[in-house]
């Protein structure tokens, strides 16, 4: 006879399963459909529940937590509006392949489909923006479904998984046993790359005269930063990172040529345009990276390593596709290259480096350092210096995000946390909160703009409740800066609805939430303010930097343009002329 298993209610199974899964933090917001679960949460202490102030905040906080730790972020929301509020955060995680498990309450089974109070078809609404979703129809399936959800969210190409649980399922009881593993015949992510393809790649790599390594978020998600560094060092080739890949390679290393793409550096984009072998690792050839596909890497043979076959040859035809886990493939590739490295004549790429250094000398990120009007780039540079490049930095969406990516030199993976794919304003504060919960002793900064900032401002209450000391740097240009920039360039300076009127007093706002507010108006005050904020270890500080209203992000590749057709700042253009 098998030993008797415990009989538990669905709501308790939920809590126990999270515990057995090793979940420490659950970001959530209660409501009718999840009240049994909230009651069960009350009676346990294995999982800490963090009460957010809006369900979007819960998903972004869990997302930030996941990006910083590599562990899945876990969310609990109620049915109907709870679920719909969570959708933006789920989609944000989906586009950046972040492992989340989001539990949504649902109306009792018998009422599904009746337009019951707070009923929405959460499975239907989230279907296009999840890796997978489940409706739990029987309490007996609950534990296995939770196990599957975590397995799917975290394996292969990660992503959010939604588990919709009707209220009566959480009231039903059954025997509880948390499965150790799950077998899903229809889901088997690949690990190993094809040896023949890896050999082909190695040969191509060693024969390159103008090689370029282009690596992305996949390297971070695949925990293969170490392998990427070894690979790049072994070859001595130039490397660029995507917005999502920053930190996978050391930004302060000589071989790093900066971020590429729409606001990438001159040297990275020019090198993309002229390379003869492109080694793409854990990237998806996003349109913000490639520019016009017709003009993309015209002379290059392309090697593409990715765990998701559907990423390969989706936008750009590839010469050597390798489907596999980045870590495994890089290890195999390094093995092959090491055996052949004597054949690598480092002199061959000398002229290529010389060319790259010439592009670099243009100093495309240069900005005016003489004015007392605060330049946004300067603020970020100072933050980088004062945190010794070692902070966790989240951002919202807009110019400030691009400047953060350009000027905070990330030397470690999982330090740069931003919504790259969906570009969700409102991401920064809750994400920073999630990171800080995971790493209470680390410095966590959120770089934001005054428009993005207020999109999830309510989470400042959560920061107070849980004593989550984050440092918010708002680059306040009184514009939706990125929108203004496009209007300046492409709409003849018709600044339609991009001006932020009726802004609140941010200092008072921070104070009213129980935090510290600062307003900084002069360049000479920037350093002191950041120092002061950092010294207030456990406090949340909102720094309202009044910045140059008309500063633009350069370089910029406009729509329909190639990597070699960047806008540079007027100063640089003048110097070059």
């Amino acid at each position: 006879m098998a030993k008797n298993k415990e009989i538990l209610r669905g709501a308790d199974i939920f809590c126990r399963a999270l515990k057995d899964e090793g979940v420490k933090h659950l970001f959530g917001y209660p409501g009718g459909a999840v009240l049994h679960i909230y009651d069960a949460l009350y009676k346990q202490d294995a999982v800490e529940h963090i009460l957010v102030r809006h369900e979007q905040g819960a998903t972004h906080a869990a997302d930030g937590y996941a990006r910083a730790t590599g562990k899945p972020g876990v969310v609990l929301v109620t049915s109907g509006p709870g679920a719909t509020n969570a959708v933006t955060g789920i989609a944000t995680a989906y586009l950046d392949s972040i492992p989340l498990v989001v539990f949504t309450g649902q109306v009792p089974r018998a009422m599904i489909g009746n337009d019951a109070f707070q009923e929405v078809d959460s499975i239907g609404i989230t279907r296009p923006c999840v890796k997978h979703n489940f409706l739990v129809k029987d309490v007996k399936d609950l534990a296995t479904t939770i196990k599957k959800a975590f397995y799917i969210a975290t394996s292969g190409r990660p992503g959010p998984v939604v588990v919709d649980i009707p209220k009566d399922v959480t009231a039903d009881s059954c025997e509880y046993e948390y499965p150790k593993t799950v077998v899903m015949p229809s889901y088997k992510p690949v690990l190993k790359g094809h040896p023949g393809q890896i050999k082909k790649a190695a040969d191509l790599i060693l024969a390159a005269k103008k090689p370029m390594i282009y690596s992305g978020g996949g390297v971070i998600l695949g925990e293969s930063s170490k392998e990427l560094r070894e690979f790049t060092k072994l070859l001595g080739y130039p490397i660029t990172n995507t917005l999502m890949g920053l930190g996978a390679y050391k930004a302060t290393d000589k071989q790093f040529v900066g971020m590429l793409g729409m606001h990438g550096t001159y040297e990275a984009n020019m090198a993309m345009h002229q390379c003869d072998v492109l080694i793409a690792i854990g990237v998806r050839f996003d349109d913000r990276v490639t520019g016009d596909l017709e003009k993309f890497c015209p002379n290059a043979k392309i090697i593409h390593i990715d765990v998701d076959p559907s990423s390969i040859a989706k936008n750009v035809p590839v010469d050597v596709p390798i489907v596999g886990d980045v870590k495994h493939v890089l290890k195999d590739l390094i093995g092959l290259l090491k055996a052949d490295i004597k054949n690598l004549d480092k002199k061959v790429i000398k002229p290529w480096w010389k060319q790259i250094d010439e592009w670099r000398a243009i100093d495309c990120l240069k900005f005016d350092r003489t004015t007392d009007v605060i330049k946004p780039q300067y603020v970020i540079e100072k933050l980088w210096e004062l945190t010794k490049g070692d902070a966790y930095v989240t951002s919202d969406v807009g110019q400030h995000q691009m400047w953060a990516a350009q000027f905070y030199k990330f030397d470690k993976p999982r330090r740069w946390i931003n919504s790259g794919g969906l570009g969700t304003m409102g991401f920064g504060i809750p994400a920073a909160m999630g990171v800080k919960m995971a790493f209470p002793d680390e410095t966590v900064a959120c770089i934001s703009g005054e428009a993005s900032l207020v999109m999830c401002i309510q989470e400042l209450s959560t920061c107070l409740q849980y004593n989550t000391g984050i440092k918010i740097l708002s680059l306040n240009n009184r514009y939706m800066g990125m929108v203004r920039q496009w209007q300046e360039f492409f709409y003849d300076k018709r600044y339609s609805h991009s001006y932020m009127e009726a802004l609140p007093d941010f200092v008072k706002m921070a104070e009213s939430y129980g935090h510290v507010g600062m307003r900084i108006e002069k360049t000479s005050d920037v350093e002191g303010a950041i120092k002061e904020a950092l010294a207030l270890k456990d406090r949340t500080v909102l720094m309202d930097f009044v910045t140059d209203q008309t500063e633009n992000v350069y370089p910029m590749i406009g729509a329909g343009k190639g990597h070699h057709e960047m806008h540079l700042s007027t100063d640089i253009k003048r110097e070059l002329a």
Binding site: S186, Y187, P309, S310
Partner: protein, 163 residues
């Protein structure tokens, strides 16, 4: 080019909408889609007829494979295969000679499965082309109602597509 894609998937509520949703969300074309359980009640078999360049069909295959419920995807165009579609068609026999319609049905190897004073209901299976040709051959004014099942496909030879 026209492709016939065959897939096996878990017979779960919602699996169909995942496939249909994928096609609409990614702007892939669906000409027809059929689905029913297989000999294993936990597994459904679906046949999708689509149109697209090689690159698009490659993406369709990859995206379908990525769906967690999907067990196996095969592009039947890659192998020798048979396709069949069932059509039920109600034809008016008021104006035309009933003999003429019956004759046409015979030529196309259909069957008349219901008869009224004014109509024949015809059952016919075959490739899409054959069904199209039958419709063409009929006087358009005689056609009262057409019901087509969409294409089902299977590979030729010994080897089954299995989960």
């Amino acid at each position: 080019m026209r492709h016939i894609i065959s897939l096996l998937m878990d017979n779960e509520a919602g699996a169909l909408s995942r496939v249909a949703g994928l096609f609409s969300a990614r702007a892939f074309n669906i000409e027809s889609l059929t689905v029913a359980p297989t000999e294993d009640p936990d597994v459904s078999r679906m046949t999708v007829v689509t149109n697209g360049s090689d690159a698009i069909v490659e993406q369709i295959m990859k995206q379908l494979n990525k769906l967690i419920d999907v067990i196996k995807v095969v592009d039947l165009n890659d192998t020798r295969h048979i396709e069949r579609e069932l059509m039920l068609i109600k034809v008016s026999t008021k104006k035309a000679a009933r003999d003429e319609v019956r004759c046409l049905v015979d030529i196309f190897r259909g069957r008349i499965i219901d008869v009224t004073e004014n109509t024949y209901t015809v059952e016919m299976t075959g490739t899409c082309d054959k069904l199209d040709a039958f419709i063409e051959a009929l006087d358009h004014d005689l056609i009262l109602e057409v019901v087509r099942s969409g294409v089902s496909g299977i590979s030729r030879g010994d080897k089954p597509i299995q989960s």
